[in-house]
Amino acid sequence: MNAIAPNAPHAPRPAGKSGGVQRPGGRGRRSSPWSWRWSDRLVLACAWISGIGLCLIAGAIVVYMGYRGIQYLRPNLLFSRPSVSTDQGSSGGFLDPLLGTLLLTFIGIALALPLAVCSAVWIAEYGRPSWLARVVESSIEIVAGTPDIVIALFGLSIFQLGVFAPLSFTSEGGGVYGRSFVAAGAMMSLLAVPPIFAASREGLQSLPGHLREAAFALGKTRIATIRRVLLPAVRSNVATGVTLGVSRIIGSTAIVLLLLGETLRFDTEGGVPGVNLLRGTGSALTSYIYDNSPAGEGAAPQKAYAAAFVLLVFVLVLNLVVDRIGRSHANAMGATVAGGIV
């Protein structure tokens, strides 16, 4: 859709196929930007510069990180566990942070998905009483607008309560440490709820009414319609939302720093395998990058670059997935563009 007056024969068109700047004296009477007032030309130039500039910045970041990644990433970094050492040669790779990121993502999505989808279904299909629906919607908006550092502090304050003592370390004096994979994952799920909710609700609301009517006519109940007809129909929207949620989770640093305990390796707690991992502390890629940058104590920029490259590859892949889902499903486009970035 070339937006500027494609049909009006005498309308000036700066946006031809060659872009915004047009040759003066083309066919017919067209005002070329060269005949405009200088201020208009300035605005036009600024629009081009800022649009192209943003793309160039994004390209520069990807190219630079790719260059550094190829320079520093070695397979043994990916597959060896980190260890504490003053010598960078023997301090290992980032297998544990990598697995930590995956584990956090898994916990976060496992908690967020049912919550967000149920809310979206309830809002879109029931939504009574309406004031309650409004409350739920605004709560999700508030969660979406809350900085992740605040969510992290909130998480620390609840998981240090005595009730949640089984979920993390308990110190000698009975103080609850409050930092574990469960704690961090639970707070991560709050990051993933808003995008999943937005995408699912948008999908449900854009479904044509006759789908529901046909199901009702066959004698299905509302909830059966939702389960058998509506939810399968919005699968791709939910997938978009989940992908966006995942990219928020793997990129969040503050929650990992405050709630995962910042131990380099998995540090298990208790004897039950699996559960001890969840109760224990560890690290994720983001905190590994932070700790190895000059801002943390590690000061091993090569490893920070290598880990950042891996993280960026994850993000790129997730972006491609969102794009693919969006393209294969015209309905999801709205969710992709709108909910996409937020």
Binding site: M1, A3, A11, P14, S50, L54, C55, C118, T221, Y290
Partner: protein, 328 residues
């Protein structure tokens, strides 16, 4: 029991269950407000709202909070956090101001000027810019931009001009604002683009028929129609900028300092600072000390409150602008 659950649910029970699950998010929000407020309460008890001002010396106050043990004396709770609030305000204001201009211009570029092919490249690329994790921005900032600014842009003369008050290393307001702008612009571009694309073409055609040149028509008609979306975009971007913690902690220099315009405009942009969110990251390891914990939670409460105020404010600004209702 299990048998009952497995049978198809009657509608009213399904409705109630779904509603109850949905309300969980509301419960979480209430809990968040309550918990953060309770933990921040000691600061309010000892300072009232006075901790928002700059009457004391925040650096020594925080040091004292860290030093006190489990039972801090009341004097340990004294706080005057103005330098942090000031740091948060100027980084946010600069970043949102620059970002808004860039975002509106590049949305016009994407929707109105770019050829479809260029647009198909630009949209995913800008979306990628929005999803790059903040720690990667921070890493590039601290390893590339900060040394560059410190070694090549700051002159020796500028360093000596303020050497008695602060050391200029390159990390500071300028780098922070640049990276923050890059981080928040894509969010605004996304929302503005969507709104611009939904304005009926005929409105602009009408303006062109009346003799405006096409760019003027876009500025006067289309942009006017999407003002609510621009406000929404700015609100969202401001919220993001206020809460950005890790990136700012990495590139802002991390000093309790208020960049001072009287040092000259370029030195101003080189001076280090600290924001509310970045000091939470800086001091989270000392959170065992009750006084420091109360201080950090009061920063969090202020951020939470600003996020609220922003969304309410944005809503109020948008109300009178909704005259030309397009989508969103």
């Amino acid at each position: 029991m299990l048998e009952r659950l497995r049978r198809p649910w009657p509608d009213h029970r399904a409705e109630r269950t779904l509603g109850a699950v949905s309300l969980l998010v509301g419960v979480v929000v209430v809990a968040m407000i309550v918990f953060v407020t309770i933990r921040a309460l000691p600061i309010f008890q000892h300072n009232g709202l006075g901790w928002l001002t700059g009457n004391g010396h925040v650096e020594t106050q925080i040091a004292e909070m860290q030093a006190t043990s489990v039972h801090p004396p009341p004097s340990a709770f004294h706080l005057s956090a103005w330098p942090l609030i000031y740091g948060t305000l100027i980084t946010t204001v600069f970043a949102v101001a620059f970002g808004l201009v860039i975002a509106v211009l590049s949305s016009i570029f994407i929707v109105e000027l770019a050829s479809p092919r260029l647009r198909n490249i630009a949209i995913p690329v800008i979306r990628l810019l929005a999803s790059v994790p903040s720690v990667i921005y921070g890493l590039i900032g601290i390893l590339v931009l900060v040394p560059f600014v410190g070694n090549h842009l700051i002159t020796a003369q500028q360093k000596t001009s303020v050497q008695n008050t602060i050391e200029l290393t390159g990390a500071g307001l300028g780098v922070t604002v640049v990276i923050l702008t890059i981080m928040i612009t894509p969010i605004m571009v996304a929302l503005t683009c969507e709104a611009l694309a939904s304005v009926p073409v005929s409105w602009r055609e009408g303006a062109v028929a009346l003799g405006l040149n096409p760019l003027r028509a876009v500025l006067a008609v289309t942009l006017r129609a999407v003002r609510p979306a621009i406000v929404a975009a700015a609100v969202l971007a401001t919220a993001r900028a206020l809460g950005e913690a890790v990136m700012i902690q990495m590139v802002s220099g991390g000093r309790f300092f208020t960049p001072n315009l009287s040092h000259g405009i370029s030195v101003f942009f080189y001076e280090p600072l600290r924001t509310l969110a970045s000091s939470i990251v800086d001091y989270h390891e000392g959170i065992g000390a009750p006084a420091l914990r109360a201080a950090l939670y009061s920063f969090a409460l202020l951020l939470l409150f600003s996020a609220f105020a922003l969304s309410v404010g944005g809503y109020l600004i948008k109300l009178p602008l909704r005259k030309y209702q397009t989508r969103g």
